[in-house]
């Protein structure tokens, strides 16, 4: 049984007998380790009348065998009542628990620290960049080879198995030699060709003067429709 240190000096009802008792300070409350309470501990209330009948101990408690029976004759009768009260509660009401409750009540106010931590967290979450560069894998051009090792496939032969997308020097995109009015239609056109012709390969040929932005848009549209293979042709259109 324990009690908060804030109750020191206050009158509280006893949890066992119901009588009002004065909560002593920790320094004043030094009961003996034995069952006998020290005579200097006073649990009686100052307003309690002297003639009040003593508090009966709980019926389930055995009389303390080592309790001192020899009261000093000059002690007031209030002390006798106090001794009985203390004897009834001292088994559970130990000074060690009072010490621990004092430390439990002393808590740091973490509100300001939590506020600062939340501000820092939000700042880093908003400004965080994880050193990732958005990129796309582009088909790499073949190295120029000479002699018999150089094997070229004509576009007419590849047109049977792949969709040909060409970009001229004016950045006009054509799908199988059919120019597109708008580049945003490319994904839909590619999707239709894939479904109709059952082709899943794309060959991009771009003029040297074509903008890099347009070529990236073509590759992005091919990725959008799920083209399985994208190849980069090196046909020289326009100026070359």
């Amino acid at each position: 049984m324990s009690i908060s240190t804030r109750k020191i000096g206050a009158l509280v009802p006893c949890a066992i007998c119901g009588a009002e008792v004065l909560v002593p300070a920790e320094d004043d409350f030094t009961p003996a380790r034995t069952a006998a309470p020290p005579p200097e501990v006073v649990f009686a209330t100052p307003t309690e009348p002297v003639s009040e009948p003593p508090v009966e101990p709980p019926p389930w408690r055995e009389p303390l065998p080592s309790a001192p029976q020899n009261q000093p004759p000059d002690e007031p009768s209030t002390l006798a009542n106090a001794d009985k009260n203390a004897a009834a509660i001292d088994e559970d009401f130990t000074p060690l628990l009072i010490k621990s409750s004092r430390f439990a009540e002393e808590e740091l106010d973490l509100t300001a620290m939590v506020d600062v931590v939340f501000q820092l967290l939000i700042f880093f979450m908003v400004t965080a960049s994880f050193s990732l560069q958005k990129s796309i894998e582009v088909p790499t051009p073949d190295q120029p080879r000479q002699g018999v090792s150089r094997a070229l496939q004509p576009l007419e032969e590849l047109q049977d198995v792949a969709i040909l997308v060409s970009v001229d020097e004016r950045n006009v995109v054509s799908v199988d030699d059919e120019p597109l009015a708008d580049l945003s239609q490319l994904a839909d056109v590619l999707s239709d060709r894939m479904r109709r012709d059952r082709k899943s390969e794309l060959i991009v040929t771009a003029a040297r003067n074509a903008a890099h932005r347009t070529v990236i848009s073509v590759i992005d549209a091919a990725n959008e429709v799920g083209m399985q293979r994208i190849r980069l042709g090196t046909a020289k259109l326009g100026a070359d």
Binding site: L132, E137, I216
Partner: protein, 154 residues
């Protein structure tokens, strides 16, 4: 049904709601500290260079810590594009010096080469740079792209 009807005047919960009810915030503070440390360690405070990258909706993220970046800026009118060995800043080199840079990067363990080229650069010039890069055995070529306007909106 109101609480006064259920408990009458001696509502034990009404007394507890108004007296000293505290929420234990220990676990929340622990999680907050973990998140804070995570973002402090993982975030980088470097500013992004002003490069007009072509946009793409479908892309992958390449960790720049283990990659080498080459920036290609569109030149002025009738001037060739400029090649910078780095992310927006770096030494400006000629086309034939790219291969040596890529060779050194692959030898150092950075086999991923990210080319951040502005959208106005001609495809032919990009193709020449790409040939220099893929000529080095083990080099993996990626083209840096930007966010689409739909992705940039919160």
């Amino acid at each position: 049904m109101s609480s006064s009807t259920l408990f009458g005047e001696d509502d034990p919960w009404a007394r507890q709601r108004t007296s000293g009810v505290e929420v234990d915030m220990t676990s929340m503070i622990d999680c907050t500290f973990l998140l804070l440390i995570f973002f402090m360690v993982c975030s980088t405070m470097q500013s992004q260079p002003d490069i007009d990258l072509p946009v793409a909706a479908h892309s992958i993220g390449v960790d720049t810590q283990g990659a080498s970046l080459i920036t290609i800026l569109a030149g002025a009118f009738n001037e060739p594009p400029r090649i910078l060995l780095g992310d927006g800043v770096g030494d400006e080199v000629a086309l034939d010096e790219v291969r040596r840079f890529v060779s050194d990067a692959v030898a150092a363990g950075n086999s991923r080469i990210v080319v951040k080229a502005e959208g106005d650069v001609s495809h032919g010039f990009i193709e020449d740079v790409a040939r220099q890069i893929v000529a080095v055995e083990g080099a993996q070529l990626y083209m840096g792209v930007g966010d689409t306007p739909e992705d940039s909106q919160p």
